[in-house]
Subunit: 205 residues, 2 copies
Amino acid sequence: MSTEPPVSTAPTAPTRRTELLGIAAGLFAEKGFKNTTVRDIAEASGILSGSLYHHFDSKESMVDEILSTFQEELFAAYDAVLGSDVDARTKIDRAVRLSFEAIDQHPHEVAIFQNDAGYLGGFERFGYLAERNAQSRGVWVALLTEGVESGALRDDLDIELTYRFIRDTVWVAVKWYRPGGKHSHVEIADQYLTILLDGISTERP
Amino acid sequence: MSTEPPVSTAPTAPTRRTELLGIAAGLFAEKGFKNTTVRDIAEASGILSGSLYHHFDSKESMVDEILSTFQEELFAAYDAVLGSDVDARTKIDRAVRLSFEAIDQHPHEVAIFQNDAGYLGGFERFGYLAERNAQSRGVWVALLTEGVESGALRDDLDIELTYRFIRDTVWVAVKWYRPGGKHSHVEIADQYLTILLDGISTERP
DNA sequence: GTCTATATGGAGATAGAC
DNA sequence: GTCTATCTCCATATAGAC
């Protein structure tokens, strides 16, 4: 993670810095980190590329701040679900809904993570991305294990594979989900949870 | 699609051309198209970058030939499933297995398509990628619709969302599947089909 | 906080010798 | 079929004026 930006206690007044980060996030999400040039970001911001370096050290610093800020928020939410006092099935329901909600509210950040984490993870500076992945796996494996042990979930599940299927389906949705589109993020979560929990067949074997 | 390479009728003797394409495919899959330089490909092939242009017009030509060749094969297989004389549930089973098998046998090609189709699709030359996507959707929507109408699948399914969930889960597996790893592609398909058809819960509502 | 001007490096691609 | 040599463009980033 990078050096901290000025700490904001209040509900984030849109400073020039955050404004520029928002523009950069949109471009990174749309075209990919590598395919977005500093000049692209500057042009979209109505300034010249040199001026961006008054606000940020480098292009990498920008994506770093975008991702680390978002992940801090996301994982706080996961921890709340994991520690909540409800049954396993409800926790899984909440974790799934939380993820689709994150896609709805932070589509750029999720898209950047999905598309560029592999590339960025190759740099030491972004080592925290792999740590966050491991943390996410830990949450899901805990929830699924709890589900099997409590009898809510089938005991013939391969926890590791099940985790991967859920993670993949949920997060890749950022590639096609459009806020304000035909399906709300709540409807998508409803449909996915129905399928995940009970399957698409009319009858069980 | 690009101009055709020399047509091979026999079981593809590994020409220098296909050898180079294989090396390029591995690098594109691993690092992404944009992040792989022509010099990377040349070095991995034991030659210098200029020499590559004796075999190919451009870096784009290489990825074009890699993708179009693969997709031709893949969609022939889908068409065979779609036209086969079995019930809808069996067709879905076969289509899922076919996809995981494609990941097993052509991991580079699938990875390139997953990671770079968005970027490449922006060029006219790669317009066929979008067409193939539409074709894939057509196959799945047909299978799911047939399943609902025959009574094999629940009639409260949103076909469009269900298609997207299946497509995403199946193809993103290329990011973590490793041939010869802990789970075979058949085991992965088994587990996914179990969950997809019957869900992860012990009991239905 | 932005602009002007520019340094520096790396990318794709080409021409012709061997 | 490969190498040598090189062109050209575009990328990130910097220094200092306004």
